[in-house]
């Protein structure tokens, strides 16, 4: 099974389908998730949909290209869309998202107590994990507003690309944990029977924890947990709803990768995980694939030819004035079946042509080696997951930082012919 036989991902069909309401781009760090999400957003909008792209941590220039370099945590319309649809984009501000939840669900004094709690401040400002919760929260909010018919989400650069899937579950198990119940026990424990046990547990806990964390931190944590108690419930409910939303038919996951071993290993892992969680996978976007317009010439053949030319170059330098004549003779004798062609050409090579051709051949050999490596890596993935539809995006020499660039990427993404085929 090789990539050439893998089904081709029809990204336009996916974007055009009114049933598609959420597209999640996931994959390892550094594979172009954000660019892919943005390019798909431009494409979908120009084909008539009302789209919002939620990015997590875009590169500065990419954010500028969409006009969302200012952080205000709400979607802004992107100017310059050519087509019937509309594109909005936003960058997640996790602290602000967290603050807004607090403000929306707790009254004045209580909200202020939470917002001023040092434990809360530290947690909301971005310890690992918070970003995943907040990305899920924001996705849920955008979906609930129902102002867009397509939401495209870029996932956080997690330690493991799967963290955001686990966010609701982790939050749930944390909230259901006995520890939290102990911390909040004084507020909650009503029954007399439970009271005694909880108090014993509580004093042991506070004793040990106080010793460990210092009494003031423990007090901050307790205040925080008690204040957040009601909020947490709603938080969990929403996180679970978002999780279910991700399993629903209107959602499509795109796994993004580059033809590198690590990125594709992560992609394979992701494919398996999505299957296990019954999340709908639409396909694999393979970014930065190299191609060659002269793929019929192998690396070995190109290198051998470059060496032949090197030897000629040395001869040329040695034989001086004779070189033109010598080149003519050589050409005729090595041209083989193409002799007629050759002599009908320019009639000889100069040393610039020889040196230039040798350099071009070396470059080509390097390119072909890259191609061969990428092909092997891709084929390994295709062998493991032959059912996953794939689309490839050719490597561009520079970074994308404007709408035109995003449009080009989208063009490659949605092309129905494999590049170079």
């Amino acid at each position: 099974m090789s990539l050439d036989t893998a089904p081709r991902l029809d990204a336009d069909a996916l974007l055009d389908d009114p049933q598609t309401r959420i597209v999640v781009c996931c994959g390892a760090g550094g594979v172009g998730k954000t660019t892919t999400a943005a390019a798909l957003g431009v494409r979908a909008a120009e084909r008539g949909r009302r789209v919002v792209v939620l990015t997590i941590d875009p590169a500065k220039r990419l954010a500028q290209s969409m006009g969302i370099d200012a952080l205000d945590n709400s979607p802004r319309q992107v100017e310059g869309i050519e087509g019937p649809g509309e594109l909005y984009a936003m960058m997640l501000d996790m602290k602000r998202t967290f603050d807004e939840i607090v403000e929306a669900h707790a009254e004045g004094d209580r909200a202020r107590a939470i917002l001023e709690n040092p434990f809360y401040q530290s947690l909301s400002a971005g310890f690992a994990g918070t970003q995943e919760y907040m990305a899920m929260e924001k996705l849920g909010q955008l979906r609930a507003r129902d102002s867009w018919d397509l939401i495209i989400v870029d996932t956080p650069p997690s330690r493991s690309a799967l963290d955001f899937l686990d966010a609701p579950k982790r939050l749930g198990s944390f909230l259901d944990g006995r520890f939290i119940r102990l911390l909040t026990a004084p507020a909650k424990a009503g029954g007399r029977a439970g009271m005694k046990f909880l108090n014993v547990g509580m004093s042991m806990m506070t004793g040990t924890l106080g010793k460990l964390l210092g009494a003031s931190l423990l007090r901050d944590v307790q205040t925080f947990v008690a204040a957040m108690d009601t909020l947490f419930g709603g938080f969990r409910t929403r996180a679970e709803a978002t999780y279910r939303l991700l399993q629903a038919p209107g959602t499509a996951f795109l796994v993004v990768a580059t033809p590198e071993r690590d990125a594709l290993r992560e992609a394979a892992y992701f494919v398996e995980r999505l299957e296990a969680d019954r999340m709908p996978l639409a396909g694999l976007v393979l970014n930065r694939v190299h191609e060659s317009g002269a793929a019929q010439l192998s690396a070995e053949r190109a290198l051998a030819a470059a060496e032949t030319l090197d030897e000629r170059g040395v001869d040329d330098a040695g034989s001086g004035a004779k070189s033109a004549g010598a080149a003519g003779t050589d050409t005729a004798s090595t041209g083989g079946t193409d002799t007629a062609d050759t002599t009908g050409g320019t009639g000889g090579t100069d040393s610039t042509g020889t040196e230039g051709a040798a350099a071009l051949l070396r470059l080509h050999a390097e390119r072909m080696q890259v191609l061969a490596h990428e092909r092997r890596t891709r084929d390994r993935f295709a062998a493991l997951h032959p059912e996953v539809p794939v689309t490839q995006v050719t490597a561009l020499p520079g970074d994308v930082h404007d709408l035109a660039g995003l449009r080009d990427v989208a063009e490659l993404l949605t092309a129905q012919e494999a590049p170079g085929a």
């Binding site: 500065k60 520890f179 040990t208 590198e260 090595t334 062609d341 050759t342 009908g344």
Partner: protein, 327 residues
């Protein structure tokens, strides 16, 4: 080697190969009979994959020998285990630790209060870097940490200061402060891995500024996956000026006929297109090199291994680092 035991923290944007560079550095530091510890903190088992071994347990085990007879040990640090270790080591709270775990407190501390989690991870690495045997000799000559990516590194390392501020007294406070002292000392250096591309370089530049502001020592910039410069603009222009001569030369090298439409002639346009992409990339790389040079850091370069990095490739990279880097 400067004589100081050092903790080398290796970070980089995702996709730049920081795990590979960390491993190559650990190998290079272990050369000639030394002993290093390579630690990972993100639970990705990247080290095991790189060294083609079984997943690493929470245990320091030897995974490779270095050229000239040194040893590389590896450890995948797990925050929960590190906390239990820590409770046991400092407070002999083994059983209390288990009770805390049953109550979900360990989960609490390592998950929802991930600041404490990061303290535990960096704390374990610092402990290994400082550990001495009963003769007062350091157990490891160096510890190399495959750290979180550039976007999170300052926070990851600086979290100790934050946690020390949160827990205003008590053992966690003291622990966080002592870890911070090691991290900000001259014995610790943060190295940044980058590619010669816009985004990784920008992140490196931002990362260096943040690290310096946080009082952390920046060590070196390692430029990874450098591709050879096979043709420059001048050469390309000279060659492109005479396509007929190129066709003739290709033909002379046995690649078919040189006349219009013949095999060698048809190669000229695609080969020139590739060369243009190449020189375009070189031009972009020059801009990136200039941006890196402004950081005034020692800079080391590792070649792109077209075949991907296997164990043999890793040793090759470690040799390259050893040649350039005064370790």
């Amino acid at each position: 080697m400067s004589g100081l035991q050092r903790l080398h923290v290796v970070t980089g944007k995702g996709g730049t190969g920081k795990t590979t560079v960390a491993a190559a550095l650990a190998l290079a530091l272990a050369a000639d009979g030394r002993r290093t510890l390579l630690v990972e903190v993100e639970g990705r088992q990247g080290i095991a994959q790189l060294f083609e071994t079984e997943p690493l347990p929470y245990e320091e085990r030897r995974i490779a020998s270095a050229p000239g007879g040194g040893d590389v040990f590896a450890l995948a640090i797990d925050a929960e285990q590190a906390l239990l270790d820590y409770l046991q080591m400092f407070y002999r709270m083994g059983s209390a630790g288990r009770a805390l775990r049953r109550l979900g407190a360990i989960d609490f501390v390592t998950t929802i209060a991930p600041g404490l989690r990061d303290v535990l991870l960096t704390g374990k690495a610092c402990e290994a870097a400082r550990r001495q045997d009963k003769h007062g000799r350091h157990v490891y000559d160096a510890v190399v940490m495959d750290a979180p990516p550039t976007g999170r590194i300052t926070r990851f390392l600086g979290v100790n200061a934050e946690v020390a501020g949160l827990a205003k007294a008590g053992p966690i406070h003291n622990h966080a402060r002592s870890v911070m002292r090691v991290l900000t000392s001259a014995r610790t250096a943060v190295h940044l891995v980058t590619l010669l591309e816009d985004m990784p370089v920008q992140e490196t530049v931002d990362g260096v500024a943040e690290l310096r502001e946080a009082g952390l020592q920046v060590g070196a910039a390692v430029v990874n996956m450098v591709r050879p410069a096979l043709m420059d603009e001048a050469e390309l222009e000279r060659a492109a000026a005479d396509p007929a001569a190129l066709a003739a030369a290709l033909s002379a090298a046995g690649l078919g006929g040189a006349s219009r439409g013949a095999r060698a002639e048809r190669l000229v346009a695609p080969l020139l297109r590739q060369a243009r992409e190449h020189t375009e990339r070189l031009a972009l790389e020059r801009t990136q090199r200039a941006a890196l040079a402004r950081l005034e850091l020692p800079q080391y370069e590792l070649p792109l291994l077209t075949e991907g990095v296997d164990l043999a490739g890793l040793y090759r990279l470690s040799g390259e680092l050893g040649k350039q880097w005064p370790l």
